[in-house]
């Protein structure tokens, strides 16, 4: 028995389903019944029940791409704020991909307080101690661009199914985006007007993340914005 419409906005404690269902993220089970744990959209597929949250802090998971800000240094690396209840650790060897003799090299030349870093989550232990790494090209210290912060819960919509929304924004504005799972996005572009347009699209997605047909509306808005002022 299902008690809500698919994609209906539900609130904590609201009964969603009763009987032989499996509960996934955003929901919990008591006896035979599955309830929502958060404000979000009920999402029922077959026997799977979940609630897509509309708010909430970012909790790091291994493999996530994140954008961090350096808030402190220690002898062998840096502490980064990753817009989460937990700070993350980045060791110098993970940043420069080689052994560094800490007695001979001054690591402050690599990163300073306030620097922005694109990184992947390498490890999260049971005490929520987080390690970062920068294994791919383009990861590491970021220069230029515009930093946008939105609710981490809305990031899946900015990416879209298989990155479809991201592709729309990039192709229509000619900008390049780095999207962190932790709610931070960097937009690079030569034309400041196009950068602003891309930011506007991101903010529109954040506002309307829970509505359907969003990709089409974003594409339309970007088309309109492009022709304006030409």
């Amino acid at each position: 028995m299902i008690y809500v419409q698919n994609r209906e906005i539900v609130v904590p404690g609201q009964l969603i389903a009763e009987g032989n269902y499996r509960h996934l993220e955003g929901s919990f089970r008591e006896g035979d019944r599955i309830y929502s744990a958060v404000v979000g959209l009920a999402d029922i597929k077959g026997d799977k029940v979940r609630v897509i949250p509309l708010q909430g802090r970012y909790v790091p998971r291994v493999g996530d791409l994140v954008i961090g800000v350096v808030i402190d240094t220690h002898s062998s690396g840096w502490i980064l704020d990753i817009n989460s209840p937990y700070t993350a650790n980045l060791f110098v060897s993970e940043l420069v991909h080689r052994k560094v003799d800490l007695n001979k090299e001054d690591i402050s030349k690599f990163l300073k307080i306030g620097d922005v870093v694109l990184a992947a989550v390498k490890e999260v232990d049971e005490y929520m101690r987080v390690l970062l790494e920068t294994p791919e090209r383009g990861m590491g210290r970021i220069e230029g661009g515009k930093l946008v912060e939105i609710s981490p819960a809305k990031i899946p919509r900015v990416l879209g199914r298989k990155g479809s929304m991201l592709k729309v924004i990039e192709s229509k504005t000619g900008c390049t985006l780095a999207v962190g799972q932790n709610g931070r996005i960097i937009v690079w572009g030569d034309d400041p007007r196009m950068v602003n347009l891309a930011v506007e699209a991101i903010l529109m997605i954040e506002r309307e993340a829970h509505t359907s047909g969003l990709t089409d509306r974003v594409a339309l808005m970007l088309e309109g914005g492009k022709s304006e002022g030409k």
């Binding site: 609130v11 904590p12 404690g13 404000v39 802090r57 929520m128």
Partner: protein, 240 residues
């Protein structure tokens, strides 16, 4: 404040309500920009804000819990919120209210999902007319949900009491001051579980049961307004 001659006349209270009637209640979710979650509650003449920050890093570190988040609550009254100016800063009353508020909210939170972190709840009473702690709890529950903190349910709260031998719901200042009994209650509506109970005054066993019934009925109504406030915040029209 002068004592009115009678607090209940022909079954009507000073503000015209029936004994089992709630004051006008207005709740809005997501009213503050900086907070992770927030809510504004007007219950009669009470005006209360609640803000939630977190889960965030816990300082000082030695207060961290290795396997769960810590909930911290701070109830505070603006200096202009009462008849005589209230000196700013915590006093014994507000510290006790902060404690019972925390204990009223804790049972519904999945704190185990955020080890070592802290969830801060700040309640600010801007205008007070009895029942500020219940209004604060109602606001805090909505603000926690608005912040995306996973919860088993909301928490709803109301005061009941005895005024001239009548059991009444949701006391105003005059009734609180000159009535016989004041009993603030908070419940987890879905489970009918009580998470806050304080009482001063006098109840017989029968009156206590009657008052509790009334509190449950009042909380049901508040619960509905809380749920609506959360749903309304996201019921935004699509652009274009």
């Amino acid at each position: 404040m002068e004592k009115p001659e009678k607090l209940i006349v022909d079954g009507r209270r000073l503000d015209g309500r029936a004994p089992d009637e709630l004051r006008p209640l207005k709740i809005k979710a997501g009213v503050l920009e900086r907070a992770d979650g927030s809510a504004y509650v007007e219950l009669g003449n009470n005006k209360v804000f609640a803000a939630v920050y977190g889960p965030r890093e816990m300082h000082p570190r030695h207060d961290q819990q290795p396997d769960a988040a810590v909930l911290r609550c701070r109830y505070s009254m603006a200096p202009f919120s009462v008849e005589d100016r209230k000196k700013p800063g915590p006093d014994r009353r507000s510290m006790e209210i902060s404690k019972v508020t925390k204990e009223a909210l804790e049972p519904v939170l999945f704190l185990e999902l955020y080890p070592r972190s802290v969830i801060d709840v700040f309640i600010e009473v801007l205008q007070a007319d009895a029942g500020t702690r219940t209004a604060g709890i109602n606001a805090a529950a909505v603000a926690l949900a608005d912040a995306g903190v996973p919860m088993r349910d909301l928490v709803s709260s109301v005061a009941v009491g005895k005024v001239e031998d009548t059991i009444v719901l949701d006391l105003i200042k005059e009734e609180d001051q000159f009535g016989t009994t004041d009993m603030p209650v908070a419940i987890i509506p879905r489970k009918k579980a009580i998470t806050l109970l304080q009482m001063d005054g006098h109840f017989t066993k029968e009156e206590f049961k009657q008052a509790l019934d009334l509190a449950f009925r009042g909380c049901e109504k508040i619960y509905e307004v809380q749920r609506q406030a959360l749903k309304e915040k996201y019921a935004i029209k699509e652009s274009g």
